[in-house]
């Protein structure tokens, strides 16, 4: 297939959107955390936990959306731990994040092994199926790419809109944005920086967990160790790439996913026969860095990101 043909094919963009979906959830989650001033390096582990929790809940008999809710709740709980350690106690967000990733991952694996001690391949669930939106899915190229996805993908897009609306159009979002920029501005208005930040980390972590659950409940239908495979870390880059704005971050996620979908297809072209496959796998990362260099000057980092706030001190 010609490279250009690939780029204009509906199936390619459908793949890009599919690959992007879990990233969109988790990126929105990370974005919410960082907007409130907390870098959440627990993302990778929280996604693992969410992937497992949603899947096992459905396996145990819950409906699919029930599984999503369970994943969200598990993410919230882990986010709560992250929040308590990093906000009122002000512990290093790097340490808490890495510790949370280790904790969430190992707890998940442990739970998996305790629940399913003797299996040679993990059980499958009836995952979300693609749902063609009437009419819209008939639009050429765009239709099959955008409107023949699973409900969870649609939810990812809705989440971007909701995140955006809440952040920019509601008092709560205003407080979150202020907490990430200058927490004393929030405290001086009688609002609790601690509560806002912990809340943001919890909700954001919930989104991350749903991103993980996408992998086991939409992209695939069972859970494997290590299946999150670094996607969480990508989302941290995507937040920066998106300059902490939901819309741009969404764009970044789709772009990254498009590169991923593209490299998969590129491997089957004549180029693929001569270039080592690692080069293709590297491509999305390299392009992210390149994009960061190009974008860097304009991005506005939340000023209080990674800065703990303690009422007693200035």
């Amino acid at each position: 297939m010609d490279l250009f043909d690939i780029l204009i094919s509906a199936s390619f963009w459908a793949a890009a959107i599919r690959i992007a979906s879990p990233l969109i959830f988790a990126t929105m989650g990370e974005l919410v955390c960082e907007r409130a001033g907390v870098l959440n390096l627990g993302i990778e582990g929280i996604m693992v936990a969410g992937a497992f929790a949603g899947w096992i809940a459905v396996w145990a008999g819950l409906p699919l959306w029930g599984g999503v809710a369970v994943a969200f709740a598990v993410g919230m709980a882990l986010g709560g731990v992250h929040g308590i350690l990093s906000v009122p106690f002000g512990l290093s967000q790097h340490v808490v994040g890495i510790g949370m990733t280790l904790l969430a991952t190992s707890l998940t694996f442990y739970t998996y092994r305790v629940v399913l001690p003797e299996v040679s391949s993990p059980p499958k669930i009836e995952a979300f199926q693609a749902f063609e939106i009437p009419f819209l899915s008939k639009i050429p190229v765009l239709g099959p790419a955008l409107f023949a996805q699973t409900p969870l993908t649609y939810a990812a897009f809705v989440l971007v809109i909701v995140t955006s609306l809440v952040l920019y159009r509601t008092p709560l979002g205003l407080a979150v944005r202020a907490a990430g920029e200058n927490p004393s501005a929030v405290a001086a208005q009688g609002l609790s920086v601690t509560a806002i930040r912990i809340g943001a980390v919890m909700v954001g972590s919930g989104f991350m967990a749903v991103g993980g659950a996408f992998l086991t409940m939409s992209a695939f239908d069972s859970f494997f160790f290590d299946m999150v495979n670094g996607r969480g870390w990508i989302c941290i880059a995507l937040v920066v790439f998106g300059a902490w704005k939901p819309g741009k971050a969404l764009l970044g996620a789709i772009l990254f996913a498009a590169f991923d979908a593209f490299q998969i297809r590129l491997q089957q072209t004549p180029i693929g026969a001569v270039v080592p496959y690692q080069v293709f796998l590297m491509m999305p990362y390299l392009l992210s860095i390149l994009a960061l260099v190009v974008m860097s000057r304009r991005a506005e980092v939340p000023a209080a990101l990674m800065v703990p706030f303690n009422k007693g001190e200035r």
């Binding site: 390619f12 690959i19 040679s120 695939f220 494997f224 160790f225 290590d226 089957q268 693929g272 796998l281």
Partner: protein, 306 residues
Amino acid sequence: AAEPLKVAGIYTVPVEQQWVSRIHVAAVAAQDRGDIAYTYSENTSNTDYPRVMREYAEAGYDLIVGEIFGVEAEAREVAADYPDTAFLMGSSFKEDAGLPNLAVFDNYIQDASYLSGIIAASMSEAGNIGMVGGFPIPEVNRLMNAFMAGAREINPDIAFQISFIGSWFDPPKAKETAYAMIENGADVLYAERFGVSDAAKEKGVLAIGNVIDTQADYPDTVVASALWNFGPTLDAAIAAIRDGSFVAADYGVHSFMAAGGASLAPFGTFEGKIPQAALDLVAARAAAIKDGSFVVEIDDTEPKSS
């Protein structure tokens, strides 16, 4: 009956991984028979591997099973330090007479893979087969190459699309890769990784299994599978330890079809849907392999798309 042997497995991946799962299943079966008492450590990184070997050896295990592809030299040092413990290790190297307590094996199921390739080619109308692998390591390459050789016997011009996803456990990624291959014309997929058969199932094309039999999960998709049965390998080791004859040896032969270590899975739902010509060829090759008149080449080099 005699005291069960104390057997420990050390795996660098979770026991769900196909390759390891065959060892695990065989060991559990042996335990259920009462032959061994079995325990295992999974997801042990190569950094920790020698330490874990030592711990089991120190704890007095009779037999340690596992995979030392990444730690060949260190593992041999450990084996040398514990001459009374038998080590049966997946390894790319041959046994070493100077290290009598370490025997090697691998999944030499190229015979079955070859046969599954014949079937794959016969089922592919497009003459285009997609193959998704984790990493191009010897035992993956070996089976892919045998599969491709078998397929070419039916259709010398058949095209192969080959991709490695750089992970053992990323079914969504494997699935996406498989989708791309189907878009690109593949109508039969070689399912080296989890996720590939799922893509085939969704897109209504066929898949060929590898190492394990997954037809029950994909009844209308998985046509045939090249199975690995670790039982003969393990049983041979247990017997050897029991009668004190365990020595450095290449247990890989126990994975050959002739030894019952490899087989083509029953066609099950695809019974009667495979062209007779292919079935005849499979039968002929299988017989020739068993009597030694046909040898499937062992080729560990990285396969390339064609």
